[in-house]
Amino acid sequence: MDQLVIGIFGLTGCAGDQLTILNCEDELLLIAEKVTMKSFNMASSRELAGRVEVALVEGSVCQPEDLAMLREIRERSRHLVAFGTCAAFGGMAAMDQRVHPEVLRDTVYGPDGEPFEAIRARPLSSFVKVDFVLPGCPVEKGQLLETLSCLLKGSFPDIACTPVCAECRSRENLCIVLERDEVCCGALTRGGCGARCPSLDVSCAGCRGPVEDAYYAVNADLLKGRGIDREKIRKKMMLFSAPAGMGERLEREFD
């Protein structure tokens, strides 16, 4: 059987999703046996040009070069997967959409910097067709392996889009909102992490991105009603739950 050819690409991001591939220590050799990984710069010097069946693209589009690269990847691949929250929703870089990117740039680089073009961080789907979204900051190892395994069978996996709360309940945690009056983004966030953070007694930061029907207003009202300062709520939700494009909704629904 022909090997499945996948390309692994990174735009602007932290490489955590690519690293997650290498973190599958137990399975790595098996993966290498079944899958040809092209363009995996982080792990290999063997740059193979040409077409790939599936491109896993990490990171968001943060500079014109990213966009050019993304378009080229799209050209080269049959399927394109938004690999990780940055690619899927913009991630951290897309957090503060209210501040102009040039202001951000000048804050970091000051007046001495050579002015390079700063653009608003955006998810892949703002520019090209995305065939499948594998969210997570970083992606969950299990879901990554499931994606590869399912791709070997010629299909994308069936990945849940229910909120983190579902897994939080299933793990029989106490609800952080109710117990401690803290902001928890569980109800806004797509599960799949096994409610990792609430199970550690840490409130969910929303790193897997928003569920398709994120109800900001209801969540905000709930938290405000429990005496939490609205700015605090906004800041936490802005991390991941209200990414590029949804941030405006959050602002609108907030008051």
Binding site: S149, C150, K153, G154, S155, F156, D158
Partner: protein
């Protein structure tokens, strides 16, 4: 203890692309087993382990018990995977599921089959059943409409049937497309299924058993027309689609009101549907079927 979640491996004996993205399959049971006993209108769970399962209607008739036939439209993950299979491959099957048509109630009556689009698939089972038991039923009428003439399923079979005189068959399409099957010389017409109803097809509408299946819009207009024509609410049966995961009345996805579509349906008569919240609403003074 019987485990109703376990599929059996059936083998594909024949497979063809009936129309674009719609695959006709004929399956043989695993060695040592026989084709299930089933009633027209029932469905089964079709699966490929690792990809998923989907509810698919049985399109063959129990009067021809050698194989099972179905027609699957490429709609998502599982159905796409099925479309890539070929003769000799196996497919997981679980069933028969659901309740079929109330055959005792049909006994002795004229039968009107009213199909829209993919709705012809389960109705073909009933149609074949009626044809194979001419002594038990009255006149058979088949009215079948599609959006475009590219979408006619079982065209040759239906046309032949019409010509044979064993049943009255009328095909109608809203739109004629290049490469389509519309042939005026065969009596094919242009328009909506409801246009066919406007003609006086049935001698005694109030006594005729109506089996209908089609997309939501189809029900909306067809039910209205049937009622206007004096068909009996108790004899109008429709097949209502819902999301199904288990087909055993357990997973809850198909639950509407107090009913589990997968075990108590998918065939409901007008009153069933009317009494079940969510299935029929009255809008603008007209019954509005939520299917």
């Amino acid at each position: 203890m019987h485990n109703p979640y376990l599929p059996e491996d059936w083998t594909i004996m024949a497979m063809r692309e009936e129309i674009e993205d719609h695959f006709f399959l004929e399956l043989r049971p695993p060695a040592g087993s026989r084709v299930w006993e089933y009633t027209p209108g029932q469905f089964c769970g079709v699966s490929i382990l690792g990809i998923g399962e989907a509810p698919i209607s049985l399109s063959s008739s129990p009067t021809r018990p050698e194989t099972l036939q179905m027609c699957i439209r490429k709609a998502g993950r599982l159905t796409s995977a099925v479309s890539k299979l070929s003769v000799g491959d196996v497919l997981g099957l679980r069933g028969p599921l659901g309740k079929g048509y109330p055959l005792e109630q049909i006994q002795g009556r004229d039968v009107l089959i009213l199909a829209g689009g993919l709705g012809m698939v389960p109705l073909r089972s009933l149609m074949t059943y009626v044809l194979d038991n001419p002594e038990r039923f009255g006149r058979l009428t088949v009215l079948y409409g599609t959006r475009t003439d590219l979408e006619f399923l079982f065209y040759d079979e239906l046309t032949r049937l019409g010509k044979s005189g064993r049943a009255e068959v009328e095909l109608i399409t809203q739109e004629v497309r290049p490469g389509g099957r519309y042939r005026p010389e065969n009596g094919d017409r242009k328009g909506f299924v409801t246009d066919l109803l406007a003609g006086g097809f049935c001698r005694s509408p109030g006594e005729t058993f109506v089996a209908m299946c089609g997309p939501p819009v189809f029900y909306r207009y067809a039910v209205k027309t049937l009622l206007e024509k004096g068909f009996s609410k108790a004899l109008i049966f429709m097949s209502l689609e819902r999301r199904m995961e288990c087909g055993l009345g357990k997973c809850g996805h198909c639950s509407v009101g107090y009913r589990y579509t997968c075990v108590e349906g998918p065939i409901f008569n007008y009153w069933d549907a009317y009494n079940t919240p969510e299935l029929i609403e009255i809008r603008e003074g007209q019954p509005w079927i939520n299917s």
